[in-house]
């Protein structure tokens, strides 16, 4: 067996990729590995590439050990754990030169698949499992846990940390902890005896994850909904948003059951389809509860009609769109930012909607709360545009904080006393000259009653087909949307004040962009950066666009939807905007951004920057 070259040493800076078959419990093994490294104080990134399938198809998990804290894909694979014979050929090819591949050597692999420039290590995982565990299912599960032990030996992952994590996940089921730990130890011991431990790729304790958590965006968003005081959650299952409502329900079952009566301070309603889910959200919000739904692109398509009604009749609503690859059914388990335009202008007629763009789970939490406040303040639907990468992968992010002084902004809702004091209540009258009318809730006062409708209405709430009366309301809605610009979060801008080149991104592109900027800076190319957090675009967005001559717009869709939205909704000339597009369904890599920027700037610019 060839000894790996010492020159390739990469401490706390390498990528492990694990090729598995879905439904074999590999996810637990992979999460265990990632979490162990995180617990050793080393920043880490984990991405799950799974099929739209329950059992038997290929699935990959990518762990990036990143001492510099880059939470995006790098594009490298330094260590491949090839557990799936079906994808073995492809997996071998994917390893970066000088890298390693581990496979189950219980069965011989064709030498055709070997490569001269990587080190291939065999471990008879299935054989060891068969010798030590009983039962088919058990053996399959333990085989995966066992490679975690092999990697622990090769990479010097602390076995005590692994033991502790197993204890945490299995709780009181000591037999499970013991069985899993036995598998880990078997793998570990085998590797120690037969493999060149440690590899030049290895981990070393750091102190860079203190004050951080590893959480997925859907869980964080669900927690945000709990803290926002949402009580009604109508939804229809759809990947990749399902785990959001599942998490909300599970948090509520722990936190929202009245200790005295055993009854629930929440209602999660599984609707018959997305049309119904959004209808329920509207009904509940209209009736004074905070209600939301979680869905993905196809669900948004179905919800369009109701979204237009909510816009026109001014009913608050919060929608989480955990974006997946379109068009149509697309690739349900792959990621994209492809619903920008469909959400911005959802429904027929003149409609525009508020959107928030969380860039990681941390922002999913805070923006969930913000979304409810904005929806009720503005009496309109608010979209939180997350994506599969944020929603379903565990991200390292700062521990979430809560301000106990927070009170929900319920917007302009009149109390019984306020209604009774009015000469007459008019639902859509711009009384305060801020384009936001007052609303009343059912059950409060007969004097506050009004008729909510999606058909033409005047500012008093009455039905109308009168040209002028109709237009008064429609024009106020436009003013209200302009007012939203002053209420939504401003972009994050990192600018030197000297560069005339800018870079614009939203959402989950953040990690790749941060790393790409560092790489470019090392090459002497400094680029200003604006991460937009909301639509409508604020004046800061306009300012950034105006003050840069060449602006790269980075986004994860084919048709440059963000660029379109910027040209439609700001004064920026189209010719200033250069698209960097990534839409193959995998999370973005910094590599791709660097290459695209360098290509666009050309040799001359590069030399000038380096000079």
């Amino acid at each position: 067996m060839a000894q790996p070259a010492k020159a390739q040493e990469r401490v706390n800076d390498f990528v492990i990729k694990l090729a598995n078959v879905n439904g074999t419990g590999s996810a637990s093994a992979n999460t265990l590995l990632m979490k162990s490294i995180f617990r050793m104080g080393i920043p880490v990134m984990g991405k799950n590439y799974f099929p739209s399938n329950i059992q038997g198809l290929p699935t990959w998990y990518e762990i990036r050990v990143t001492k510099d804290g880059y939470v995006a894909r790098s594009g490298r694979v330094d260590l491949m754990v090839a557990m799936n014979a079906e994808t073995y050929a492809k997996d071998v090819r994917e390893v970066s030169a000088g890298g390693y591949l581990i496979y189950d050597s219980t069965w011989p692999r064709s030498t055709v698949l070997s490569r001269e420039d990587i080190t291939i290590l065999g471990v008879p995982l299935a054989r060891i499992c068969n010798e030590n565990f009983v039962g088919v299912r058990n053996r399959i599960l333990m085989k995966n846990i066992m490679y975690a032990g092999v990697l622990a030996a090769l990479l010097e992952i602390d076995l005590d940390v692994i033991r502790q994590l197993l204890g945490e996940s299995f709780g009181k089921k000591q037999a499970l902890v013991d069985a899993n730990m036995k598998a880990v130890q078997l793998g570990y011991d085998h590797a120690k005896e037969h493999l060149p431990c440690p590899l030049p790729l290895r981990v070393e304790r750091m102190d860079k994850t203190r004050g951080h958590i590893m959480i997925d965006g859907n869980t964080a968003a669900a927690l945000g909904c709990v803290y926002a005081g949402a009580t009604v959650g109508p939804w229809y299952p759809i990947t990749p948003s399902t785990s959001l409502m599942d998490a909300f329900k599970s948090f509520c079952q722990k936190l929202r059951v009245d200790p005295e009566t055993g009854r629930n301070n929440f209602a999660v309603i599984q609707a018959e389809d997305e049309l119904s889910a959004i209808g329920m959200v509207l009904g509940a919000n209209w009736n004074g509860a905070r209600a939301f739904t979680a869905t993905s692109g196809p669900g948004i398509s179905l919800m369009n009609e109701f979204i237009g009604l909510a816009y026109y009749a001014e009913v608050p609503a919060v929608l989480f769109d955990v974006q997946r690859v379109g068009p149509s059914t697309g690739m349900p388990t792959r990621t994209q930012q492809c619903d920008l335009l469909t959400c911005a202008y959802a429904s027929h007629g003149d409609t525009k909607h508020v959107m928030l763009f969380p860039s990681n789970p941390e922002e999913c939490f805070y923006m969930a709360v913000q979304a409810f406040d904005l929806a009720e303040r503005l009496q309109t639907p608010v979209f939180v545009l997350s994506d599969l990468d944020i929603g379903m992968n565990d991200w390292m992010c700062p521990e979430l904080k809560w301000d106990d002084g927070y009170r929900p902004d319920r917007g302009k809702v009149l109390s019984k006393e306020e209604i009774e004091a009015l000469p007459k209540f008019h639902r859509y009258l711009d009384k305060d000259d801020d384009a936001i009318p007052y609303r009343t809730l059912p059950g409060v006062s007969a004097k506050g009653a009004y008729f909510t409708r999606g058909s033409g209405h005047n500012q008093y709430g009455g039905y109308t087909e009168d040209a002028k009366e109709y237009q008064v309301v429609l024009d106020r809605l436009a003013r209200k949307f302009r007012r939203a610009r002053t209420l939504v979060p401003a972009p994050v801008i990192e600018a030197t004040g000297t560069s005339d080149i800018g870079l614009v991104a939203i959402g989950s592109s953040r990690g790749a962009v941060n790393e790409a900027r560092d790489i470019l800076a090392k090459r002497g190319i400094s680029i200003d950066y604006m991460r937009i957090k909301a639509f409508p675009f604020t004046k800061e967005v306009e300012g950034f666009l105006a003050s840069h001559d060449k602006i790269f717009v980075i986004e994860q869709n084919r048709d440059a939807q963000l660029r379109s939205l910027l040209t439609l909704e700001t004064d920026v000339p189209k010719s200033k905007l250069y698209s960097i597009l990534h839409y193959n369904g995998l999370p973005m890599t910094s590599e791709g951004i660097v290459a695209a920027v360098l290509a666009e700037l050309g040799d001359a610019a590069r030399k000038a920057a380096l000079a």
């Binding site: 005081g229 009854r263 018959e272 809560w402 059912p442 059950g443 009653a449």
Partner: protein, 351 residues
């Protein structure tokens, strides 16, 4: 349609209910439907029923979809909040509204197009959830606003105004509701106020989904010879099987009924529905028999009316969701989250 506004004058001798309100207090805007429309008679019955129940207008929520029937929620109870949603989707709005506040009374008014075609899914699932509401289906067999196309409730062989014959099998909302587990299923006729008013009252008081299918002739597009939903045809083929009287709580039953024909059904708030069986062998508490009876009579070309089936013991949506007694929109914010300290505890497993 009439273009005059309703006069605001109130006669001093108008009778008042327990709240001191007159029938005028339960009226709404002027109807814009065609003169003689069955829907307007239903509106009048709803107004009468609400007044009779002495409901505070703000206790009621009115919901509807799109269509002639759906317009009618504007024509009664102007002191109640109304929500005119999108076509066929009223049940979901009602479900959400009810989830938010279980204390109010919900009345949804829909039509055969709204309920049985575009909204058939939502209609079915609201029944399955047993949402606590009264669902009125104003059934005329045609699309009125778009000028007389057949709806899904049009009977085989019925003729459109232009003479076209319907060949597709109809959807019967009562049979559908029976098979979906509906807990209060009634059929009536817009012209029979004596039957309709107590049915509406009982339906509002029923805990769960109460559906009343009301044959309501369309005078403009479906009241001709050859139509099976005309006034003439309906009157001729009308068969009242069970008459329901609504008896409020603490009120004694003082109507005299014939021996063996009376079946009192206790409602959750102490009120009662007294069912007067006009057809001796009929059992409105037996789902299978109700289904069979309805089918048999339909084959004979008869519209069975009255309270066809009732079961007051099943769990409604809130029971199934085990929600707290307090309406969810009134639970104080402090009870909904565990604060900064609680968050730190929750996050431990993610560290």
């Amino acid at each position: 349609m009439s273009f005059i506004n309703k006069p605001k004058v109130r006669h001093p001798d108008l009778p008042t209910n327990e709240l001191g309100l007159t029938r005028r207090d339960y009226e709404g805007a002027m109807s814009t439907l065609c003169a003689g429309c069955g829907h307007d008679s239903i509106t009048a019955s709803i107004t009468e029923a609400l007044w009779g129940l002495s409901l505070r207008p703000e206790q009621l929520v009115k919901l509807s979809g799109i269509g002639c029937s759906s317009k009618t929620t504007a024509y009664f109870a102007s002191g109640s909040h109304g929500f005119n949603g999108v076509h066929g989707r009223m049940p979901s709005v009602a479900t959400g509204a009810n989830a938010a506040n279980k204390e109010l009374y919900y009345i949804g008014v829909s039509g055969d197009g709204d309920s049985l075609s575009i909204g058939f899914g939502q209609f079915a699932h609201a029944i399955r959830r047993n949402v606590n509401m009264l669902y009125v289906c104003e059934n005329n067999g045609v699309y009125g606003l778009t000028k007389g196309q057949f709806s899904a409730s049009a009977d085989i062989g019925t003729k459109s105004k232009k003479g076209e014959e319907n060949l597709q099998a109809p959807v019967d909302p009562c049979l559908a509701a029976l098979s979906l587990g509906g807990t209060f299923i009634a059929r009536s006729f817009s012209g029979d106020r004596e039957q309709l008013v107590p049915l509406i009252q009982a339906g509002l008081k029923h805990k769960g989904f109460a559906m009343i299918d009301i044959i309501s002739p369309c005078v403009t597009f479906n009241d001709h010879v050859g139509s099976t939903k005309s006034y003439a045809f309906t009157r001729e083929h009308y068969h009242e099987a069970v008459h329901a009287d609504y008896i409020p709580p603490q009120r004694e039953i003082n109507v005299s009924y014939g021996e063996g024909e009376v079946l009192p059904v206790q409602m959750h708030d102490g009120s009662q529905i007294v069912l007067r069986k006009l057809d001796k062998d009929y059992d409105p508490t037996h789902r299978g028999k109700a289904f069979e009876y309805l089918r048999t009579r339909l084959r004979e070309g008869e519209h069975v009316t009255g309270l066809i089936f009732v079961s007051s013991s099943g769990p409604d949506m809130h029971d199934m969701a085990n929600t707290t007694e307090m309406p969810l929109n009134k639970v104080p914010y402090e009870k909904l989250h565990p604060g900064a300290e609680g968050l730190a505890k929750i996050l431990k497993r993610y560290a």
